[in-house]
């Protein structure tokens, strides 16, 4: 098994029903983390990466990098396209350029995916702290 493979992919961000239910339940809920801090990857691409589903992967673009859980895409085939639900994890790597019309580019971004090894998926609170260096409010 080759676990040091890298994969060039086009990153698409969008809605999933799990993200919708999770956001209504609460952004600090486990449902939201499980539904949003993920990346749908085509089974053929997972093979190329030398991993199976439910393994942490690092998604990197020229705008940033984030660790999320790779999930074998239920919507395959879409080889070469990785899909992340909208949320703070996806927004760590998307293109902020608005092309002078106000809208950042949240779909169709070149990204590189690699197995993350031991790196964990950060919770929302941990992610905020690491990104902004300000103490996040922890409700419980």
């Amino acid at each position: 098994m080759t676990s040091n493979q890298r994969l060039q992919a086009i990153l698409i961000t969008g809605r999933t029903i799990e993200q919708g239910v999770g956001k209504e339940k609460g952004k600090t809920s486990k449902e939201y983390l499980d539904g949003v801090a993920i990346c749908h990857i085509d089974p053929a691409d997972l093979k190329k990466l030398g991993i199976k589903g439910n393994v942490n992967v690092q998604i990197s673009t020229i705008y940033g990098s984030v660790v999320v859980k790779a999930v074998e895409s239920p919507r395959a085939p879409h080889a070469g396209i990785a899909y992340m639900p909208y949320g703070p994890w996806a927004n760590a790597v998307i293109d902020p350029d608005t092309d002078s019309i106000g809208m950042p580019s949240l779909k169709g971004i070149s990204a590189e995916i690699e197995p993350a090894g031991d790196k964990p998926v950060l919770s929302l609170t941990e992610l905020l702290k690491s990104q902004f260096g300000k103490e996040p409010y922890a409700p419980h």
């Binding site: 086009i10 698409i12 961000t13 969008g14 809605r15 999933t16 029903i17 993200q19 919708g20 239910v21 209504e24 339940k25 609460g26 952004k27 600090t28 809920s29 705008y63 940033g64 895409s73 919507r75 395959a76 085939p77 879409h78 396209i81 899909y83 909208y86 949320g87 703070p88 927004n91 760590a92 998307i94 293109d95 902020p96 608005t98 092309d99 002078s100 019309i101 106000g102 809208m103 950042p104 580019s105 949240l106 779909k107 169709g108 929302l124 609170t125 905020l128 990104q131 902004f132 300000k134 103490e135 996040p136 409010y137 922890a138 409700p139 419980h140």
Partner: protein, 484 residues
């Protein structure tokens, strides 16, 4: 055990107004007719993720304070700021938005709603080209061809297909639900046979699912309602459709323009466009021309990918072309339950639908310059007020960094990333559950939001909180005038 009928669901732009709730001991205990998101909202509205007390950041940590103290602090921040950003608005009532606009004018800030990162490009394009649209009732009763382009209603607007399009029983067009059920049953049987064959012969799946087959199936030319989905991946909505067109990422514009040519009886001198064979597109164009009433719904697959507003230009122009041959309408799939209402109230109050700048004391509108993400990326704002939204989650990181760096006031019923990063956090009662209001459905039909339970003690509506802040800002400004 009182039941409340005909409740409007405050989640997505569908604003389903047939929700039935059962209330016991002042709590919602049962939801009927709603989708998964609706149930999650009505049953989980008062859970552990709810904000209960106003908070102010002191020595780096958010601590509980009184409402008056939080309102005063918020007003001071806004009154002192040179160029504050007032953002959010799409998940609150029109009444609250109206006060928000008054506040933006008072403090000379820039006010923007979530359209800016969803259908902002659609709005710009509609202003350029116009939009032949209708209400969802028309689609429900008349549409015999429904196209979803770059959107996945199954996930983002779960009852859209059931209430307004293919699975709704209209006056002139019938529901395709039974046909879908038999198709699904046949697929399940086929999958079982394939699995059994795989086990027996221990080899790869012998054939692909029919949904992956790219040519238009014969069933596309049946009587009754037809549904086509165009997307970059096979979404759940695509599985529901009669025909799924898988377009290559960032190439929607080419596909739309190719269809425009075909609708105008021009010939294409290529074999395929955006990964779709022209022969198949010809059949789709033919179907579009031959339908009696077509409806195209489009989502962020068009507004966020390469081309952005130019994709919408092409989609609107395609519908304009189609209207020379038949009757066709088009509508953006608006996400938040009152994002259409935000655009409407903004327009009614200032003349512009979003990204309105009051820094020169009169409203200016220039998306790209006065839009939230741009003013943040350029580092121009020096304070922010966020109402019923979560830009720290939803904005690109670089824009969120500037938001967090400056004083951040948050009014929201729930803990979210923005509230966690806030400097003044004021919890509010949930509109559509604990307080009344008005919201606009995606087709611009205004609907009343009901109060079904009492809010937790001490929580008031966004509208009331904003009124208090506005009045405090006016007091501070009057005091400064007297001093000078």
């Amino acid at each position: 055990m009182p039941h409340i009928e005909a409740v409007t669901c405050p989640v997505c732009g569908c604003l389903c107004d047939d929700i039935r709730l059962r209330i016991e001991a002042g709590k919602i205990v049962e939801v009927k007719n709603g989708c998964a998101m609706c149930e999650s909202k009505f049953l989980g509205y008062c859970g552990e993720h709810r904000l209960s007390k106003p908070l102010i950041r002191k020595n780096g940590e958010l601590v509980e304070v009184s409402l008056n103290e939080a309102v005063k602090k918020a007003a001071e921040i806004l009154a002192e700021a040179n160029y504050p950003l007032l953002y959010g608005w799409s998940s609150t009532s029109c009444e609250a938005i109206r006060i928000g606009l008054e506040l933006a004018e008072e403090v000379g800030g820039v006010i923007d709603n979530t359209s800016t990162v969803c259908h902002g490009p659609s709005v710009l394009s509609i202003q350029d080209i116009g939009i032949p649209s209708c209400t969802l009732g028309q689609v429900r009763h008349r549409a015999d061809l429904v196209i979803y382009w770059g959107c996945d209603p199954w996930s983002a607007h779960p009852r859209h297909i059931e209430r307004y399009t293919s699975f709704s029983d209209g006056r002139f067009e019938k529901s395709e639900w039974k046909g879908y059920l038999s198709k699904t049953k046949a697929l399940i049987v086929k999958k079982k046979i394939e699995k059994a064959l795989k086990r027996v012969f221990a080899r790869e799946t012998p054939s692909l699912s029919p949904h992956v087959r790219r040519e238009p199936p014969p069933t596309l030319f049946k009587e009754g309602r037809k549904m086509i989905v165009v997307d970059v991946r096979r979404t759940r909505s695509a599985e529901t459709a009669d025909y799924f067109i898988q377009v290559e990422p960032n190439r929607d514009y080419e596909l739309l323009e190719a269809l425009r040519l075909l609708v105008r009886d021009e010939e294409l001198e290529v074999e395929e466009v955006a990964g779709v064979p022209v022969a198949y597109l010809e059949e789709v164009a033919d179907l579009m021309i031959r339908c009696n009433f077509g409806a195209l719904f489009f989502g962020l697959g068009l507004t966020m990918s390469r081309g952005k507003m130019r994709n919408i230009d092409a989609a609107l122009s395609l519908i304009r072309d189609l209207n020379t041959r038949t009757k066709f309408t088009i509508m953006p799939m608006r996400g938040h339950f009152n994002v259409s209402g935000s655009d409407t109230v903004f327009t009614w109050q200032t003349g512009y639908p979003y990204a309105v700048d009051f820094s020169l004391c009169y409203p200016r509108y220039n998306p790209g310059e006065t839009s939230a993400v741009d003013v943040l990326l350029r580092g121009e704002t020096d304070a922010s007020l966020i109402v019923a939204s979560d830009p720290v989650s939803n904005f690109p990181r670089k824009a969120a960094e500037h938001l967090v760096k400056n004083p951040l006031i948050v009014i929201d019923p729930h803990v979210n990333a923005t509230a966690q990063m806030g400097d003044v956090v004021i919890p509010s009662a949930l509109v559509g559950v604990e307080v009344e209001g008005t919201a606009y459905r995606m087709d611009h039909v205004p609907l009343p939001l009901k109060k079904v339970v009492e809010p937790p003690e001490g929580l008031i509506s966004d509208e009331e909180i904003l009124r208090k802040i506005l009045s405090e800002v006016r007091k501070i400004k009057a005091g400064k005038m007297e001093e000078s």
